[in-house]
């Protein structure tokens, strides 16, 4: 390989990541139809839950007397589920339009493409997390762990967004179609509903539901965020929450990278 070719091939990973991240963020922010529902629907569900299920706080052993404190975590995870849709749809569009082929013909590294895509997911995640925090606090939610806790909530929320975003990207890369991405959206919501979303796990009385919720990593993500809102610094809940979020993110990232290698065929 000549020096010129080597130079062309090695055009700099950080710069490639930066350019693709910029594109990903611009693309996301220029699609209000993708950003607005990911903010509005979680807030809508939050308002319905916190007003309709307030009496649940009377249950013996319920960890708080304000259901908004309990339900606030749902908004973060639900918002992250929208990341799967957003990331998957963007990747599917790139495949269907041939844009991925265009990128394949440049000296682009696959890792740069994945990282650039992640940047778009995280940009949306920051907007979601900050919005949910501000709205929650404005309507009376208290963050027991204070400002540092709020920052950790944002970090955990971003990790969850990255995990679900990579799942969306993986499905898009495997299938090559936006329809398949839309198809997994209800499944991801089912994962949210079959978790400790509405009740603490020890208060779920139906055995199978409690078992499913116990094995469902979404429960631990919710409980990690919830601990910072309700109880303050709970090392175990945070460790489990981050472990589930980071673990899922890593598995999804590896799966998406593998699917990208197959999809982005070039010799």
């Amino acid at each position: 390989m000549t020096e010129a070719v080597r130079s062309a091939v090695d055009s700099g990973l950080p710069r490639q990541v930066g350019m693709l991240a910029r594109r990903s963020v611009l693309r996301t922010m220029r699609q209000p139809a993708m950003v607005v529902p990911s903010l509005v629907f979680p807030l809508l569900l939050l308002s319905i839950n916190s007003s309709g299920l307030e009496s649940t706080t009377q249950l013996p052993g319920f960890p708080t007397d304000n259901y908004l404190d309990f339900a606030l975590a749902i908004a973060f995870v639900q918002g992250a589920l929208f990341s799967a849709n957003s990331a998957g749809t963007n990747v599917a569009n790139d495949i269907e339009s041939g844009f991925l082929n265009r990128l394949s013909l440049t000296p682009l590294r696959r890792m740069a493409l994945m990282m650039g895509q992640l940047a778009g997911i995280l940009a949306l995640g920051v907007i979601q997390a900050v919005t949910f925090l501000l709205v929650g606090v404005a309507f009376g939610a208290g963050i027991e762990a204070g400002l540092p806790g709020a920052i950790v909530i944002v970090l955990m929320s971003l990790t969850i967004s990255a995990a679900f975003g990579c799942i969306g990207a993986f499905v898009a890369l495997r299938s090559g179609t936006g329809e398949a991405v839309q198809g997994i959206f209800p499944l991801l919501f089912a994962a949210l509903f079959l978790s400790s979303m509405a009740l603490p796990r020890d208060l779920i009385e139906i055995n199978w539901f409690q078992t499913v919720a116990t094995y469902n990593p979404v429960s631990y993500m919710l409980e990690g965020i919830r601990s910072l809102v309700i109880t303050g610094w709970d090392g175990e809940a945070l460790a489990l929450g981050f472990a589930c979020a980071v673990g899922l993110a890593l598995i999804a990232l590896v799966a998406a990278s593998s699917a990208l290698r197959t999809r982005m065929v070039r010799t």
Binding site: M1, V9, L26, G98, N101, T106, M264, T267
Partner: protein, 335 residues
Amino acid sequence: MSGAAIEASDLVRDFKKGPRAVDGIDLRVEPGEVYGFLGPNGAGKSTTVHMLTTLLPPTSGSARVAGHDVVTEGPAVRAAIGAALQEAALDPFLTGREHMTLQTALHGMRGTAARDRGEELIARVGLSQAADRRVGGYSGGMKRRLDLALALVHRPRILFLDEPTTGLDVQSRTSLWEEVGRLAADRGVTVFLTTQYLEEADVLADRVGIIHKGAIVAEGTPEALKAEIGRPSVEAVPAEREDLPRMKQVLARFGESVPGSPKAVAVRLDGGDAQLAEVVRALDAEDIHVEHLQLHAPTLDDVFLSKTGRSLEGEAEEETADEEEEPEPTEAVAA
């Protein structure tokens, strides 16, 4: 291999589902040449381009582009080529200038050099006024011109254009032809152009390869290919519709039937254009009044017809719903 810009030998590509897409193609394109790859949808044009541009590994056979093997020297091939593939692959949410910034950056250009190159190309394809508009609002012709400009960012020696004018209006098509012609003439860029338009191949290509069902069935300059057919055809429309069968009988004396309008009779003249007068006399002798009579010089469609037994224009119409299958993802040969 001795200095060819593109060279392929017995190139084959199979897909898991469906027929063999490319079935043993041999071709050689010289530096600076405009090579037209002509064929209907589904003939194997795009699959060939995907293999030559390293986006798809061949099932068997070999190909070298810019002197580099497309399987073992993919990065070197990509450094030497530019490509505007089927459908302008653009992001509707980015502006033309943002596309250019991304493309120059991915090719490793920086600072003023990248900006100047981007501006030069945007101006060259006539998009300076629209450069800050989102591409989603561009016309088909504007998208194609931007696509071409992006393919030229790194000054490629070889340019692959996969059906660059499909779906464009006449004005946009002509404008793109002029730009491609300039690239080849002024810059010595080798152009590998796939098309299903006879006129496009005729106007642009120095040499044409006609592909049918994955194989090249004819190759040469447009003039040589047409000369190979040699004989012109005559098409006649009777003044009275009921005379059509009799007209068919009369014209059958002068040559084989060729496809024409449903209201007309068309035959390839065995004796060449000198027979035209005889045709007129024969029709007059049979008292068949003629509304319209036209002599057609051989076209590339005639070449396609003679090699495949089918009309390219007819095939294109029949197969518009049967778009060429996109290459399926397969495991990459190398990272």
